[in-house]
């Protein structure tokens, strides 16, 4: 049986008890009313007996026919009432008293009828004596009847009190029984709920502690809601464990793939360089030892071969740098961006030699990031800006930053050759270049490295520009709380 059903049943129990209680009380009150009526009737009988006595006195004294008939009326009334009383009392209660009363009532009637027989308008002395004798007998019979009626009165009152006590007693025991019943029925239920909740809490805690790697089974038997929950929990725990296992498997595969890629890039770095060196080396030797026999065109062709070998070397270096950007293990510290940008700008002095670029740096907020990675980001963005502005009039490069929600947006703005905004989405893709090889040098890897580093900081890159109208490159870094040390690191530590 489910816990819900049990709870409903237990809730119904007091309801049923209340109904029973009401019924008992209603019936008891009816009964009690009847008993009280009996008490009233008996009291009335006593009054009537008094009346009878006074009627007799009046009758004897005044010889009034009215009083005589009144006496009979009272006697009739008493008979009727007697019948009613005999019916009204419960079996066996006061039977003796009732029988005595009936007998005595008959005696009283006879005495009254005898008195009535002696009814004469004028009485002789003898007759008077007889009348007085009869009256005395009548009075003594009434005197016998009265204690009986009193006794009956007491009895009926006792019955009322007794019944009332009984009624309250049964009502009380009914309440007690129903309270006990609810308690007895609730106890196992409450115990079940408490122990099931405890078990569940323990299991959930254990699961969160182990990261769901180990399937857990809750030892809750039965077929109620908790057992059902326990089964669902076990199922969930198993599926979590298998998902976790699958995730670990994928992570292992990924690790293997990354290692393969590392080995591949290592091979590339070694194996592709050697033939390049041979090409460049032997073409130089050719030039040195057989250069005299070549004309200008021949020497130019040798230069083309040599230039391309160098370009390819740069390409290989950039690919390896990109692969390292993905592998670099980050060490997150709070970095003074102003100092970092100033230093990167100073390092680029050779590149911007005599271009007369004006450099404006706004106040940049600190950020929690890997200084080597973000240093590279700045170097690539500023390097690009220099490359594309140095041939312009009044070249200007600005570095700005603004808080935007929970990220900091850093910007490099230049007034260089710019680019067509339609191609801005291609800018950060590997090997994508928007300018011809002979216009500007480059391999199309620098911005891809910027994107890789920024993405690994959970930030985003953006770019906008206009052809011949300058370009703006930006990246965001999330506002993070202090790393463990909380120390503001200078950029010098990471220089080189």
């Amino acid at each position: 049986m489910g816990i819900k059903t049990k709870l409903i049943l237990i809730g119904l129990l007091p309801l049923a008890m209340a109904v029973a209680f009401g019924l008992i009380l209603y019936r008891g009150q009816l009964e009690l009313g009847q008993l009280r009526d009996q008490v009233g009737r008996v009291s009335e009988m006593l009054d009537q007996l008094e009346q009878l006595e006074s009627s007799v006195r009046y009758f004897v004294h005044e010889r009034s026919d009215l009083e005589r008939r009144r006496g009979y009326e009272i006697l009739d009334w008493l008979d009727v009432r007697m019948l009613a009383l005999e019916e009204g009392f419960p079996e066996g209660e006061g039977a003796g008293i009732l029988a005595g009363m009936r007998r005595q009532l008959v005696q009283v009637r006879w005495a009254y009828m005898e008195l009535d027989g002696l009814y004469l308008p004028g009485l002789t002395a003898v007759e008077l004596t007889r009348v007085q004798g009869v009256v005395a007998r009548l009075q003594s019979e009434v005197a016998v009847l009265k204690p009986l009626v009193h006794g009956l009165h007491d009895l009926s009152r006792r019955l009322v009190i007794g019944y009332s006590d009984e009624l309250w007693g049964s009502a009380f025991s009914l309440i007690l029984v129903s309270a006990l019943g609810v308690m007895v029925l609730m106890y196992p239920l409450l115990y079940r709920i408490a122990s099931a909740l405890q078990g569940l809490t323990r299991a959930v805690r254990a699961m969160s502690g182990r990261g769901g790697a180990v399937p857990l089974t809750l030892g809750l038997r039965g077929d109620d809601e908790f057992a059902q929950l326990a089964r669902e929990f076990s199922l969930m725990s198993r599926s979590l464990a298998s998902a976790e296992a699958a995730r670990e498997e994928r992570a292992r595969e990924l690790e293997v793939a990354v290692r393969d890629l590392e080995n591949f890039s290592y091979s590339v770095s070694h194996d592709l360089r050697a033939p390049l060196r041979a090409i460049d080396g032997f073409i130089r030797i050719l030039e040195e030892e057989y250069g005299q026999g070549l004309d200008d065109e021949g020497r130019r062709l040798i230069g083309v071969v040599s230039d391309n070998a160098r370009k390819m070397e740069r390409l290989i270096d950039d690919i390896l740098a990109l692969s390292r950007a993905g592998r670099l293990e980050f060490e997150m510290v709070r970095v003074d961006m102003n100092a970092l940008v100033d230093e990167v700008w100073a390092d680029l002095a050779e590149q911007r030699a005599e271009s007369g670029i004006r450099f404006e740096r706004g106040s940049l907020p600190n950020a929690v990031c890997d200084p080597r990675a973000i240093r590279q980001v700045w170097a690539n963005l500023l390097g690009n800006a220099i490359k594309f502005t140095s041939m312009r009039d009044h070249p200007l490069i600005q570095v700005l930053a603004e808080h935007r929600g929970d990220v900091i947006h850093y910007l490099v703005v230049d007034n260089g050759v710019g680019f067509d905004n339609a191609y801005s989405s291609k800018l950060f893709q590997l090997f994508q270049r928007l300018h011809g090889m002979n216009e500007f040098e480059g391999t199309g890897v620098g911005l891809a490295i910027v994107k890789r580093f920024v993405q690994r900081h959970e930030g985003q890159v953006d770019a906008s520009g206009r052809k011949d109208g300058g370009a703006t490159f930006g990246f965001t870094l999330p506002v993070r709380t202090e790393p463990e040390s909380g120390e503001v690191h200078g950029h010098r530590r990471y220089a080189g």
């Binding site: 290592y266 770095s269 070694h270 050697a274 033939p275 060196r277 460049d280 080396g281 030797i285 390896l320």
Partner: protein
């Protein structure tokens, strides 16, 4: 018979014949290639230095410097360096890594094993020739080694 002519100043361990030729040419320009031995793999390098196999009859005198590539057939450069440093005879022998690798892990691994110098081969021939020539001049002509390394 040990003569000055059979002695070796530079042991070049290089599996790529083109690189080896370029290096030897660069050294020859500065007259440093006369007493040079070129071996093509790590095993040959160890045989040479420990006078084993083909080099059993070699004079006991060690070269002034070993120019060691890292990626070599049979026994790679790091293992060669490890064995040289493990042996008391060759423990102090100057070893210079001359490699195409620019990987930090190679740099760290070889320095940890006590390499004397680590040089990445430039691709451009001018740079390469200059680098190799400077290396040869420095280690053969300028640098001094403890006498027991060169003792017969």
């Amino acid at each position: 018979m040990v003569t000055e002519d059979t002695l070796v100043d530079i042991l070049l361990v290089e599996d790529n014949p083109n690189d080896a030729e370029l290096a030897i040419r660069a050294l020859r320009k500065h007259h440093l290639a006369n007493r040079l031995e070129w071996v093509k793999d790590g095993e040959a390098a160890l045989d040479f230095l420990f006078q084993r196999g083909d080099y059993a009859d070699r004079p006991a005198r060690l070269p002034r410097v070993v120019l060691l590539d890292l990626r070599l057939p049979k026994v790679d450069g790091i293992e060669v360096l490890e064995q040289l440093r493990a042996n008391p005879q060759t423990h102090d022998l100057p070893v210079v890594i001359l490699t195409s690798s620019k990987e930090d892990r190679d740099l760290i691994a070889t320095y940890r094993l006590g390499v004397n110098s680590f040089v990445a081969k430039p691709v451009a021939f001018d740079d390469f020739a200059r680098t190799v020539a400077e290396l040869g001049m420095y280690w053969v002509l300028v640098n001094r080694v403890p006498p027991e390394i060169r003792s017969v």
